[in-house]
Amino acid sequence: MSNHAAIDVIVSEVVEVNSLIKRFHFKRRDGGHLPAFSGGAHIVIEMQDGEQLRRTPYSLMSSPLDTSDYQCSIRRDDEGRGGSLYMHREVKPGMAMKISPPANLFALDLRARKHLMIAGGIGITPFLAQSSQLERTGGEYELHYGVRSAQLGAYLDVLQERLQHRLHTYYDDQQQSIDFDELLSTQPAGTHLYVCGPTPMIDKVLNTARGAGWPESHIHFEHFAKASPGEPFTAELSASGVTVEVGREQSLLEAIEAAGIEAPYLCRGGACGQCETRVLDCDGELLHEDHWLEDDERSAGEKIMPCVSRFKGKRLVLER
């Protein structure tokens, strides 16, 4: 569903968390409360970056119990398409912005006897919200948090105070790493596993868990990978009768939106399946970057996820 009723907000605070991460606080422009949400939810921030309208999802890290403001921590990605750079360079307190209502694709399973959380780097943000939620509602949980160094480990102090012995921290610069085999083979029955971090870490956790016999229903993960920049290309939209040029720093979905065409989306990270689009003609190579399509669907070449995936070749026609 794409016609989210956007919420008008003011940037109320920008805090430098460390040399790579800034935290942005948003309040409603009309002074009211923001919608309640559940731990693990994200919002989509609209950024008018010159000519280009970006819509980028970020996890809410603030407490779901406090809807006076929303907080997102954003790591500067110098290699990315520019969303995080825009947030770091251009967004200042007092600025008016638009955000989507929260949506959750990484929710806690409230039936769990225990929640086992594994975070890498900026992947900590959804767990900040979830741990606030669990502190209020009760529920056993523990968090394993891998960081590059004490300096770059965001919110270690907050988490230490909140979780105490349930927080386990691992420092790369001290050659510490999480022993996934040990961790995932010693959990009580009824434990649910949640992992958010860099893709290689997620893959390792998922492989280890599956190998150790974890049921799929108890494994939850969220990639924070976003659309990457790439070579420009052209796409024809058959239903709209429009041809769009996709720029180097633009996603296919953004180019479709820039042409004034409403397309469905939810996560904008290749995970939720909402933007799945049929490929009617393809003379070239689809560069799939999503986590949604199955392998056989990719090789069939009949579908593309325009929020993250790109194209290289002569002609691409989409049913949009």
């Binding site: 569903m1 919608p35 309640a36 949400f37 559940s38 939810a41 949506a103 959750n104 409230l110 229903s217």
Partner: protein
């Protein structure tokens, strides 16, 4: 939506024993007539639940009508006999609070003369004037209410309420208040997923209806509720046509005659809506029932004509699944007098 409304004078009808339920003429005209064409087949007939048409059951997001108090009395009677009509699995407590908040907010916003909600942090004050309720409570603390949050608020809201937990790209019926159902049982379905509880529906699985429907439902997000209509027919205006009470209403299916069909046979319309709940990430699924007798329908020429055609052309599998076989012919015969064969205008609303 956004505009407010005042409630009509409440009617005193009953949904059992002497069946004194009657619609006022205004109540007939505002009903959500479910047929936008002259024939019926399953479809993924979902749309956004907004832009409510003034003067219809769609005007306010949670509709309250002239039968409010009568329906709430009937619900209390059902619950006295069978408390299992309201159930909530342990992990659904938060969804119960979400439901309470949604229904209180909607009613207070839509009908400020009748309902009010004041919030001061977690200290809430709820007033339901039609039912004479004035309740102060602590949001999130069930010990400050006479019932759990789901039961408390759905004893004050027309229609059934099913609460669906979202897990593994599926929806699970893990809580609900179900006393006005068309022959299905919460006690039987609780804990089932979307495909399991729809398993008995004919034809729709083959058409891929449920795969598309669940994709749509999982995408329902906060501030974007959706709705659809469903329908069946019921002998007598009996809200509680449950499997548990089949011995009471089942035999009545054979009681329709040409003499009594106009006032004893009812089109039973379900206005179903779907709301993403904020704190639990669950989906609230209200199923609101509206009754129109065949005589009520005959007061709206387009509806009588269309009802005649829909019943006449209904696929036999659907007629059988909906339990219409005993009286469909009698209804078609009676409605024939209102159908001159002329075309009907598009859409469901009266001309």
């Amino acid at each position: 939506m956004g505009s407010t409304a005042s409630l009509p004078t409440f009617k005193d009808g009953t949904y059992r024993d002497d069946f004194s339920f009657r619609n006022s003429p205004e109540s007939v005209l505002r009903a959500p007539f479910p047929f936008d064409k002259d024939e019926y087949m399953y479809a993924v007939n979902m749309e956004l639940h907004k832009d409510g048409r003034p003067g219809t059951a769609y005007e306010q997001p949670i509709d309250v009508d002239e039968h409010y108090l009568a329906e709430m009395r009937d619900r209390a009677l059902v619950l006295d006999e069978d408390p299992l009509r309201c159930q909530s699995l342990p992990h659904m407590e938060m969804a119960g609070w979400d439901t309470l908040e949604l229904l209180m907010e909607c009613k207070a916003n839509s009908y400020p003369d009748s309902f009010s909600l004041e919030r001061d942090g977690d200290q809430w004050h709820w007033i339901n004037r039609p039912m004479g309720i004035d309740q102060r409570f602590t949001f999130g603390d069930a010990t400050t209410l006479p019932y759990g949050p789901l039961e408390y608020i759905t004893r004050q809201a027309q229609g059934d309420f099913v609460v669906l937990d979202e897990r593994a790209n599926n929806l699970w019926m893990d809580a609900g208040m179900v006393t006005t159902q068309a022959d299905w049982s919460l006690d039987f379905d609780i804990g089932m997923n979307f495909f399991e509880w729809h398993a008995p529906v004919p034809l729709a699985h083959e058409k891929g209806i449920f795969e598309r429907a669940i994709k749509y439902l999982l995408a329902v997000q906060q501030s974007n509720p959706a709705r659809r209509l469903n329908w069946t027919m019921t002998v007598n205006p009996r809200l509680d046509t449950s499997p548990e009470n089949y011995h009471q209403w089942g035999p009545e299916n054979t009681h329709i005659t040409p003499e009594n069909v106009a006032d004893k046979l009812f089109l039973r319309i379900e206005l179903q809506s779907f709301w993403r709940l904020p704190r639990s990430n669950a989906i609230l699924f209200p199923i609101r029932c509206y009754f129109l007798s065949m005589r009520d329908l005959s007061t709206v020429p387009k509806w009588a004509k269309r009802m005649h055609r829909v019943l006449n052309t209904l696929p036999p599998e659907l007629s059988s699944y909906k339990g219409l076989d005993n009286f469909r012919g009698t209804a078609v015969d009676w409605l024939a007098q209102f159908d001159d064969g002329s075309p009907t205008t598009p859409g469901p609303f009266p001309d």
